[in-house]
């Protein structure tokens, strides 16, 4: 069990890249925080969500 953006998710073992793709995120418009630290973009393909992870995905939108 883990949390993604505050919601419980059944995604242990799923890579960040696969999760982002499945949920319609563009990898060049996000920041992914895992347990309060940035996950480097170069790790998206390899990092698999682990039991207990607290994940926050920020999807950037235009305007500033």
């Amino acid at each position: 069990m883990l949390k993604i953006n505050g919601e419980t998710a059944e995604a242990v073992g799923v890579t960040v890249e696969a999760h982002l793709k499945e949920n319609g995120y563009s990898t060049d418009r996000v920041a992914v925080m895992v347990n309060g630290e940035i996950l480097p973009k170069s790790d998206y393909a390899a990092y698999k969500f682990a039991d207990g992870d607290e994940v926050d995905i920020v999807g950037f939108v235009g305007g500033g």
């Binding site: 925080m33 309060g36 630290e37 940035i38 973009k41 926050d56 920020v58 939108v61 235009g62 500033g64």
Partner: protein, 211 residues
């Protein structure tokens, strides 16, 4: 007006230790548009001592509806113009100006000396690039990012959320690409959230002796 007179006036609204801490703090502003110009103004009014501001752009007439600039400044570089306006507000703040396009190759160098950096770009890919580059390369830095402030109204949808070293302010959703446009009130609310988050971090774990 001397620096001491200026400091005394700011002091009377807070306290000497808070003033000193504000004066010694260094904050970066990446992008001097609607968010960046208004965040910077709020921070120097609060007594922030050191800013690093960066933008490659020039002021356009279409910016005046939400950015700090004046019609008489159209055509001038944003970063340099903002520096002048910040010094008009707070004559003794130190402002380091970069009239430059910020990329993944120069971002850490430009903002490396800052404790906190505000991401105030407008294009989503650039926001993502800056936040990731700074958090990956600067292990002690806090980053505050603006995400979702387009349109009019729904002021209470704009919130601050903190995820470790990344703080995100905005409604997380409204996108200029959807055609809603940007207007002063909502942009300033988001800029206010971002400036407030910065001040909170600077004074974090600091107990006000007057309380």
């Amino acid at each position: 007006m001397t620096e001491a007179e200026f400091a005394a006036a700011v002091d009377s609204r807070s306290s000497k230790p808070i003033y000193e801490r504000m004066k010694q703090s260094k904050v970066g502003i990446a992008g001097c548009g609607g968010l960046g110009s208004n965040i910077a103004a709020a921070l120097v009014r609060a007594g922030l001592g050191k800013l690093v501001i960066a933008d490659f752009d020039t002021i356009e007439l279409s910016n005046i509806n939400r950015q700090l600039y004046l019609p008489s400044q159209v055509g001038k570089p944003k970063a340099e113009t903002l520096e002048k306006m910040l010094h008009d507000i707070a004559p003794y703040c130190e402002v380091e100006v970069h009239d430059i396009h910020i990329t993944k190759d120069n971002a850490a160098e430009i903002f490396g000396g800052c404790q906190i950096v505000c991401e105030a770009f407008d294009v989503p890919e650039n926001k993502s690039m800056l936040v990731n580059t700074l958090l990956e390369n600067c292990p002690d830095m806090q980053v505050v990012s603006g995400v979702g402030m387009a349109g009019i109204g729904r002021a209470n949808d704009i919130v601050t959320k903190r995820f470790g070293r990344l703080t995100v302010c905005g409604d997380g959703r409204t996108d200029v690409a959807d055609g809603e446009g940007l207007s002063a009130a909502r942009v300033i609310i988001c800029a206010g959230h971002m400036a407030s988050a910065v001040l909170e971090m600077i004074l974090e774990n600091y107990s006000n002796p007057r309380k």
